[in-house]
Symmetry: C2
Subunit: 140 residues, 2 copies
DNA sequence: CTAGATCCTCTAGTCACTGGAGGATCAAGC
DNA sequence: GCTTGATCCTCCAGTGACTAGAGGATCTAG
């Protein structure tokens, strides 16, 4: 089976047409044969691969990580530890992000907790931002 | 006082030199007078403004939001509700991000919870990514 | 045939920076 | 005064993952 247009593939996977083209450009998806009129012709393996990519993207894996995961998935005898390590690294990154966001949340919640105060001249939001002593250590 | 070089301002605020130039380019920082040799000359008000910007960036506010906050801070009689609304919107955005990341975290933790399984052929990480039925609804 | 949908390539924009090239100026030390 | 290293300047392009739109071609249903 090699008869899916890019639009059909897009509908089947939920990945947008320009994004599929982008993925081909960056080598994440292989180039596929074209019709006589130059249209891409996708098959079952492409459908499967794009589904994998989309799933991984949805889970927040970066393109480069996905590239590696795909490479690994093509080597059934390879130790699983490699894929596992990628996932664990990703998990740690997400944990880091969550904890940074949670700290930020705390500060901003404090800033707005008493609601608007009337005029800007006595506005806590502006006040806090203007007072660098209240600035937590840079998170980035 | 108008005698800070861009490097000095950078050291005083923790904002990198290229970033300060960038902020000037996008209008977040006003252009400042130059020395005869073309170097920027910053004063106390610039120092204060950049501090405000940095603080807001550290709290995750977007450039455009900061632009608005700065505009508001220049109008002491303006109702605080505007600044408050910006901060609340930002708070809601952070909440959203946290909850999305937390959901992601759950899925990936499940994926890796039993540790590596040996070979790729039976690797849970690859397995899950290849099975689109296991894919949660797209979060983005 | 027509019109709308879909496809193509190409270019540039998004957001907030960041990196580096190529060159000029400054300042300290000799 | 000269040298050297630091700092400054503008300009251009890259980062990551798309996204938007221009200009044109092909397909398909009515």
């Amino acid at each position: 089976m090699r008869d899916l247009t890019i639009g059909a593939l897009s509908k089947r996977t939920g990945v947008k047409v320009p994004t599929i083209r982008y993925y081909e450009q960056i080598g994440l998806m292989p180039p596929v044969p074209r019709t006589d009129s130059g249209r891409r012709s996708y098959g079952a393996a492409d459908l499967k691969r794009l589904g994998f990519i989309r799933h991984a993207r949805n889970l927040g894996f970066e393109i480069e990580e996905i590239r590696q995961l795909i490479a690994l998935s093509g080597e059934p005898d390879r130790p699983c530890a490699d894929a596992d390590a990628i996932a664990r690294r990703h998990l740690a990154e997400i944990d880091d992000r969550i904890s940074r966001l949670t700290a930020l949340r705390g500060e901003i919640a404090r800033m707005v907790e008493l609601g608007p105060h009337g005029a800007i001249g006595e506005c806590r939001v502006i006040e806090v931002l203007a007072d660098h002593g209240l600035c937590a250590e840079p998170a980035h």
